[in-house]
């Protein structure tokens, strides 16, 4: 049973709590996975062409825009990597972890989580059908990648919900 939660502690801090040992490991391994962003599969997905068939525009884009995007993605990864060093036990429970970080890092967290999911999906050729499966073979690297994509996706979903709450509160 996962009691994963994302909460805004105050105006300045966000906390991810209820991290099981497995989730904590998955988060700690994110920086390593993010380093794979420049591999051929991941790079084609993270830095796609802007047109389907215009070679001139695509070439210019890859020269001018993709390096800028790469810089953005690397920055997000660095922020999250630093935040992860502050991961501690949740309420003193050695089996459950939490991590608290500044609210300005929310976008970096969302970016890094999604980058990780996309890199894993490309590396293991995960498709729509794989994403709908609920049975996982613990001996299969692909199944473990899908499980990781799902769990990190759940955390990303909690971040989106938090952003929605914040935007609703801003409108009131």
């Amino acid at each position: 049973m996962i009691d994963l939660r994302v909460e805004q502690l105050d105006e300045k801090r966000v906390r991810i709590g209820g991290l099981t040992a497995m989730l904590a490991v998955m988060l700690r391994e994110m920086p390593e996975i993010l380093e794979l962003r420049d591999g051929p599969e991941a790079s084609a997905r993270l830095f796609p062409n802007p047109t389907a068939a215009d070679d001139k525009i695509n070439k210019e884009w890859q020269q001018m825009v993709s390096p800028e995007l790469r810089h953005l993605f690397v920055s997000a990864a660095e922020i999250v990597t630093r935040d992860l060093t502050a991961m501690t036990g949740d309420n003193g429970d050695p089996e459950v972890y939490e991590v608290t970080f500044p609210v300005e890092h929310l976008s970096a967290w969302m970016s890094a989580l999604n980058q990780t999911r996309l890199i894993l999906a490309e590396a293991h050729k995960v498709d729509e059908e794989d994403m709908e499966r609920r049975d996982f073979d613990p001996q299969s690297p692909k199944d473990l990648a899908v499980l990781r994509i799902q769990l990190l996706g759940y955390l990303l979903h909690l971040f989106v919900e938090l952003e929605d709450d914040n935007e609703s509160a801003d409108r009131i």
């Binding site: 830095f47 796609p48 062409n49 802007p50 970016s111 999604n114 999911r117 929605d164």
Partner: protein, 102 residues
């Protein structure tokens, strides 16, 4: 992108790129494509953030992406289309721009 400046120096062949009025006025479409990984809630949030769309409109477009494989999310000038595709790629959405056929 903008054509390069002519130098006007003797012995230098000038290649001038011309852009006709009709090309300038042809709108560009920004299209978001389906992918199996991006969350539906995440895609909706991105469309709201990038284009300032209300939730209902963003959600309708997201469902179009999910069910039909793609959704035309914006149409207009080329520079602005490039800007939006850049932003969508920043959020890791699969997005392209294409000249409108109309």
């Amino acid at each position: 992108m903008t054509p390069s400046n002519a130098t006007g120096q003797p012995g230098v062949i000038q290649i001038v790129e011309t852009v006709t009025k009709s090309e300038l006025s042809t709108p560009w479409n920004v299209v978001v494509h389906n992918d199996p990984i991006n969350l539906m809630t995440y895609v909706t949030m991105v469309l709201m953030r990038v284009f300032g769309y209300p939730r209902a409109k963003a959600k309708k477009m997201m469902l179009e992406v999910h069910n039909l494989g793609r959704s035309l999310v914006w149409s207009g000038g080329r520079e602005q289309a490039e800007h939006y595709v850049h932003q969508l790629h920043g959020y890791q959405l699969l997005a392209t721009m294409e000249k409108s056929k109309t």
